[in-house]
Symmetry: C2
Subunit: 360 residues, 2 copies
């Protein structure tokens, strides 16, 4: 447990080893709190398919067609999206009159991700024997592997991946900028755990961190992507240009989310890197993170907000203040949210930025 | 929990989803009970290196050099062996005056394996930035991925793996043969959980299962191996030709271990498959599975035997009789072993069969 005061004391290396969505299968687990992410991802399927239509079919298909989900977490969303991608590509091969290649999918996240839960959700491989396929109507048609590591560095061999997919992950920075923790710096965030309402210097420090992280991400992917491949990225965005107004995301987490992509991706980092061209960039109203059965039940909304929040930030919070205080914290979050249920349901809207990139 | 009586009631599909070494980091975990496997594996390094010297160097090295450990479990042994293999190959590239390729390692085991523990033992990737390498004297020089699935089926894309390594895993059959559970069959094993001392029909049923499993294993690997690649297999063996005398292994587990390889591999399954040639086949005195600090301390030997046994068979035993009865069972194993400590330490010797195969 970290000392009180400066709350954000996890070093970069430690952050890489511990950050994850909440594992297991409990009430606040990511598995049981990722319905909103599922809905949001599905609402962008037409944009994903557009990106996939631009991917070059390898001919003759001597090598496997390789898909990688970066920041896959441990729920069934990643399996669903990989299925969508592979089925779409298999249809394209069929339509082009080619034999489909073998497909291979890599599920990547930090080493602290609950890969055990993910692997148990994966249907067994059914591509080999007909008995296997027939015995189970729930099989997968691709080879699967989990890749533990930070996507700000290299994860895959050179020129080995056809399609990169990453949704709602690039807002997790590699570290809290050092100056934000330095009491002598103008960027010092006074021990607070969120950027919402912070000073301009603090915002700039986070923006620089994001730029440097995104540059590392793009540099690594540009080496790993096959010629003719594509990358489909979905990020949390803002509608307001002020990074210290975190809008919907601020209401939910009040924690560090990245600067809007429209200026960063388009004008700065991507162009500076020079490896990629932006095929598409779109801000997209993603909807509410709260998926509830009874919109009039304030207590359900309160619980949904607390669980949603804990499923993505709980591992960090537990590490900082311990399990017991964390229980107390999130039960208070639920209580407070219950008293503001109606306005939360109306105002809590996520905006997503969708980017489709290919090698320049 | 399964009903008493017929103890072995786990179906094939269920066995594939649940079999594993004991995960986590407790007293009976595999992580804390795999020192013997480590010693035994290290005693065979010279044979492994011989196999690696026969692997073709790809030139020019456009593609990654790929190593796969099948049945890796979750301890540090697999990381050690993969390091040995990659370092040996890197030296061979250097000695041949070639730039080394990128290296990629796949750690494969059933989906129930504790991949989380394995991934947390993996050092971070240090091949990209010099700072990363310097900041940590404990980094890895290869891309790593975990592959959940049964090695009796396909796990990897065609022609994608240079070196397969598998130690102490192929004795885990894909299922208990149906006839062994069938009261009307002559092969019925009367509800017993081990083959040691069983009838000839029972032994034949297990032998057939092993042959069919091994055939599936070889068929899959022959598709996945790159031309010029090699496979290094280590199995538990017997010195006696009677499969119902399980010798050292019988003393430890009294459970199903496969028929000796010398007739199976050489004369039957490998030749029938036709894809592979056997470069080397050697029976090897592997040593005792008991690693103790005080060979005169009977209680330590008793605990070591019970922990060693539980680390590899505990997951199955827990599933059959529940955690509480399992605790009781293994504490009785420890007590009985304590009273026979001296003779166990002398007689409990494993014999290993080492096979080195390449494509025909």
């Amino acid at each position: 447990m970290a000392p009180a005061g400066d709350n954000v004391v996890v070093s970069k290396m430690k952050l890489e080893r511990m950050l994850s969505m909440k594992g297991g299968k409990g009430e606040a687990s990511y598995v049981n709190n990722s319905q909103a992410q599922a809905q949001h991802a599905r609402s962008m399927l037409h944009l994903l398919r557009e990106t996939l239509d631009g991917v070059r079919l390898q001919s003759p298909p001597d090598f496997p067609f390789v898909v990688a989900d970066l920041g896959c977490s441990c729920g069934s969303n990643t399996i669903y999206m990989v299925d969508v991608i592979i089925q779409h590509m298999a249809k394209r091969y069929e339509a082009a009159g080619c034999d489909p290649p073998e497909f291979s999918a890599f599920f990547s996240d930090l080493p602290s991700n609950d890969f055990n839960t993910l692997f148990q959700l994966l249907p067994p491989y059914g591509g080999v024997s007909m008995e296997e396929c027939l015995a189970s109507n729930n099989h997968r048609s691709y080879f699967a592997a989990g890749v533990p590591g930070s996507f700000y560095y290299r994860l895959f061999p050179a020129k080995s991946v056809d399609v990169f997919y990453s949704a709602f992950s690039l807002h997790w920075l590699s570290q809290v900028p050092d100056v934000v923790l330095d009491k002598r710096s103008t960027a010092y965030n006074k021990g607070r755990i969120f950027i919402h309402g912070a000073s301009e210097s603090t915002a700039t420090a986070y923006k620089k961190q994001f730029q440097s992280d995104l540059a590392g991400f793009l540099r690594s992917r540009s080496k790993e992507m096959k010629s003719g491949g594509s990358m489909f990225l979905v990020c949390l965005g803002r509608t307001c240009s002020d990074p210290t107004d975190q809008g919907g995301a601020g209401l939910l987490f009040g924690t560090h989310f990245q600067d809007a992509w429209d200026d960063l991706v388009q004008e700065e980092v991507v162009e500076a890197d020079g490896s990629f061209i932006v095929n598409k960039l779109e801000v997209f109203r993603g909807g509410s993170p709260l998926v509830v059965n009874h919109p009039d039940d304030a207590a359900e909304i309160g619980r949904a907000l607390a669980n949603s929040c804990r499923s993505v930030s709980g591992v960090l919070v537990d590490a900082h203040i311990g399990d017991q205080l964390s229980d107390e914290l999130f039960s208070r979050v639920a209580m407070r949210a219950t008293t503001h249920a109606k306005e939360l349901l109306e105002q809590l809207q996520f905006f997503h930025i969708v980017a489709s990139l290919s090698l320049a």
